[in-house]
Structures are given as structure tokens and as C-alpha cells.
Symmetry: C2
Subunit: 292 residues, 2 copies
């Protein structure tokens, strides 16, 4: 391996995420690993659907060119499973990390059986019921966005409430897309805050409610981006609404999640945990929530 010296210090490292499928597993996993190295600058590239030897040869060329260009060999995170495809990539000038194979053999030993080495199985549509239930959950969530209807609310797995721009909609969509959860959401309006009480239509579903809240500063910035210099977006108004809303949630004993500095994934995972909604995509018997 000949490394061309780079002018800069430290050099930028390129990381490739290779898979014969969607690349979602290897991307998520590889990125999680790279975030542990804060001092290194990474250029990250997903190469998906690498399932033929021809494609693998193109990818090898790409990797080798990158090694020359960067002046240092790239990192390759791989979930490739076909030996002949893998062989092409292993011949490239890179640190090859086979994130699948590493665990397959201890698992085979433990389980006493041989794994099926198949292509992109996990994200494939092997279970039509699972697909349908996620699509139904998305439909449900879209139909029950922002309090648009109170019909069939009894079918909701969870109902998020919160003041305007507290993050209800994206969280609900993530819950339905990722977990197949029927997530409705309902706005808490100024009227609700002044009484103060929950919207009447929600009183019957108190056990399904989870509130989202955020810091007034952050809310102010988010609203300001939409309606600059309005009463709605003023810091004063945001402070008022957040304070009143949180008091209301406390009074009604509704669990409240502070979403400031949390990603959509974190908020959603917390709700799944909180509301004991761990139905999961499989909805199988073993996927019920763990009560530890």
C-alpha cells in the first residue's frame, strides 16, 4: 500500500458504506462508529445495491481513486454477503471492516446452526402484513394530524399534544413509519391555555396522551423562521405558552417530554418506552415491552 502524503494535517478520511441492499444498516452503524472519533474529518459516501461483480469492480476503482486523491486509504464498512462481490472489494486499497461476518460466527456457534447468507434480507418486504400495518399507521397519523379529526381516536396507540411548533407532527410520522404506531396529535391552543384545560375531545383518552414541550428560546427561533416579527413568534408569547402548557400538563398528570436538544429519533424512542408501546414492526409475542 503506497500512501501519497497529504499537504493538510490531519488528512480528511473517506468512509464508504457498502451494501448489497439499501445500505441503511451499514450507514447507521458506520456513522455511529465514526462519531466516536471527533478529531477526524470524515467524508462519508454510501454505495448501495452493490450486488454484482461488475458493480463491485467499479466500486473498487472508486475506492482506489479516493485513496490516491485523499493521500490515505479510505475506511470501508461493509454488509456485503456474496463472497465473490466481497472479494473484489477486499482487494482495494482500504481498511475493510466486515461488520456482518464478525458476529455471524459467534452467533452460529451459540445457535448451533448455519446462517443463511442472503442479500439484503432485513429491509426486504418479506412480511406483507408488516408493510400493510406500517402503511395503515401512516394513514392513521396523517388523518389525525394537528387535531384534524376526533373520529377513531380510540384506535390511536398514542396521542401527542403540544403547543404550535413543539414537534408533534414529525414525531408522529416517525412513530408510524419506524414503529408502525398509530400516533395522533392534537394542538394545545391559546383557548386551552386560558381556561386552562385540555381540549374536551381528549378527556376520554387521557391515558394515551403524551405532551411535547420545548424551551421558549428555541420555540421563538423556530416560529420566527416561519412568521417573523409576529405576536405568535415573539419571545414573550413563547414564554407564556410554554409556561402555561407545562402547568396544564402537570395539573392533568400528563407525561411531558422536553424536546430541546433531542433528535426526532430520541423523542420517538422515548415515547415508545414511556407509553409502553413497544409493539415493534414484528408485533410478535416477544416484542412486547420489557418491564424491567
Amino acid at each position: 500500500m503506497s500512501l501519497q502524503a497529504s499537504n493538510e494535517d490531519p488528512p480528511r478520511r473517506t468512509a464508504f458504506f457498502l451494501s448489497d441492499g439499501t445500505g441503511i444498516t451499514v450507514e447507521n452503524f458506520g456513522r455511529s462508529l465514526l462519531t466516536q472519533f471527533e478529531t477526524v474529518k470524515f467524508a462519508q459516501q454510501s454505495l448501495r445495491f452493490v450486488s454484482t461483480v461488475e458493480r463491485a469492480r467499479e466500486v473498487r476503482r472508486k475506492i482506489n481513486e479516493t485513496a490516491v486523491f485523499d493521500g490515505v486509504r479510505p475506511l470501508v464498512f461493509s454488509t456485503l454477503v456474496k463472497p465473490e462481490v466481497q472479494a473484489e472489494i477486499k482487494n482495494s486499497n482500504a481498511l475493510f471492516l466486515d461488520i456482518f461476518a464478525t458476529f455471524i460466527s459467534p452467533l452460529e456457534e451459540e445457535l448451533g446452526c448455519i446462517s443463511s447468507v442472503s442479500t439484503g434480507r432485513f429491509h426486504g418486504l418479506h412480511n406483507v402484513d408488516e408493510y400493510s400495518s406500517r402503511i395503515e399507521a401512516v394513514d392513521f397519523t396523517l388523518n389525525h394530524d394537528d387535531g384534524s379529526t376526533t373520529r377513531h381516536l380510540d384506535e390511536a396507540d398514542v396521542i401527542l399534544i403540544g403547543i404550535s411548533r413543539s414537534g408533534k407532527t414529525p414525531t408522529c410520522l416517525y412513530l408510524s413509519l419506524q414503529y408502525g404506531i398509530r400516533a395522533a396529535n392534537f394542538p394545545i391552543t391559546e383557548d386551552d391555555l386560558e381556561r386552562p384545560n385540555l381540549p374536551r375531545s381528549l378527556l376520554a383518552y387521557k391515558d394515551k396522551l403524551v405532551a411535547l414541550s420545548t424551551e421558549p428560546d428555541r420555540l421563538h427561533r423556530i416560529r420566527e423562521a416561519r412568521y417573523p416579527n409576529s405576536r405568535y413568534s415573539s419571545l414573550n408569547q413563547c414564554q407564556f405558552e410554554v409556561r402555561q402548557a407545562e402547568a396544564l400538563y402537570r395539573k392533568m398528570r400528563i407525561p411531558c417530554l422536553k424536546t430541546t436538544m433531542k433528535s426526532i429519533e430520541e423523542i420517538a424512542a422515548t415515547i415508545v418506552d414511556l407509553a409502553e408501546l413497544d409493539l415493534g414492526r414484528g408485533r410478535g409475542p416477544g416484542r412486547s415491552r420489557a418491564h424491567v
Copy 2:
């Protein structure tokens, strides 16, 4: 390790996904591995936010109880990073797979630096801009669902078209939530099919169009679930629409994705690849599409 004999053969194995964060990385990765073992029945359980020794002790108890109940020790996939938390779990009666540590040391060697062992970094909201751009993408997608408006279509990264129930909406939502892509969608109606031509408002954006199509049989089943015994859901009508629509896409040279037997993730990843939309969540310089 004493294993209690099970009556059934083969025994069900329990797999735990442990993390000190959302658990998304370890869940995705662990499930991908388990799908390689088709003959084994797995019960899968995510235990999230395991970040204190107290919580780790509860989890250890849970694991040990499961080992007794199952009659065979569970599998534990872990992205736990705190040594004291990990130590508790390693003492449990399970096959412990530390999916992070395995790769950290070859990476440290390659990169010539020490990793920061931090808790749940990846899915944390470290980049407010990234969060905002995903939220904006979701807003855009919701505002441009099902042809609801032609305003600002020039700002779309991609515009999905397809006949009713071909999977446009969930795919668009996944594109915006997962990748921060502004994805609009537009229905192809019977009027469009009879002329046959694209909706006029889309002609200016031909380069952004990607069509979704599916098998008439499957479409028939999906529509039937919504409007049973209708003309809309009849197999005849579905066959007609699919045939006409695909002919239209060919005539207009619009790339068309057959979504039958594909998961939302696969469809979305294919579109990202196809439309060279690999902006990614980072939207950094190295995240542009790889032209191999």
C-alpha cells in the same frame, strides 16, 4: 452456566438490544444479523436508555430471569459504552455481543487516535441545522402531498408520481424524515391516463419526476381493503390503470420503480440513488452522490 432444558425443540431464543440511547443503531443492526438465521425463532426486546448502574442491574435481572424462563441463555447485542454499566450486563447469563467495541480498536489503530466514548452521540441533536432541515423537509412534504399544491414545486428535490395507492405518501415521508429530502408527490388520475399525458403543472419539472408502480394484483388487494367491491378497487380497473400509467412513464421517459415486494426503506434508498439525491443528513461536502 446452567441451562434448564426446554420442552420444545428448537427453543425460542430471546435477543436483547441494549443501548444507552435510542437503541436504533443496535436494533437495526441486531435484527439484520438475526434475519440470517431463518430456522430460529427469536423473541426480540429493546432496552433503551440503559445509562446508569442501577438500570443496568435491573436489566441484568431481566436477562437472567429470561434465561431461566427460556431454558437457554439470551443473546445480548449491546452498544453500551460506559464501562461500569457494561460490567453489570457482562455478568449476566447471556451471550454478550459488544457490537461497538469490536470495531473501535481497529479504527483507533487506523486513524491513529483515541475514540471518545460518549453516550448515544449519533442520534443526539448535535446539529440544530440538521434537525431544522429535516423538519423543513417534512413540512415541505406534507404541504406537497398528493398534488395538494403546485406552489414552490421548484424547491422540491424530487417529485413522486403514481396512481392512487401506489405508495407515494409513505415513501415521501420516509425520504424527508430519514434523508432530509424535500419530496413532493402528485397523483396520476384517470384523466391523465386517458389523454394520456402528465398533469400540466408537472411538465416544467420533468427532471425531478420518479414514478412508482406496483403489480395490479397487489394494488387490487390494497384498494379492496379501503373500498371493497368498488369499481376503483376492481382488478380490472387496477390492471387498466397500471398498464396505462406505465406506458405513460415509458413514453415520457420517466424512471419507474416497481414497488411490489419492496419495503419503504428499499424504495426510498433506490430513489435517493436514482435521483442522485444523496444529500444526506449531513449535507456536507463528502456526502454528495458517488458517481462510480
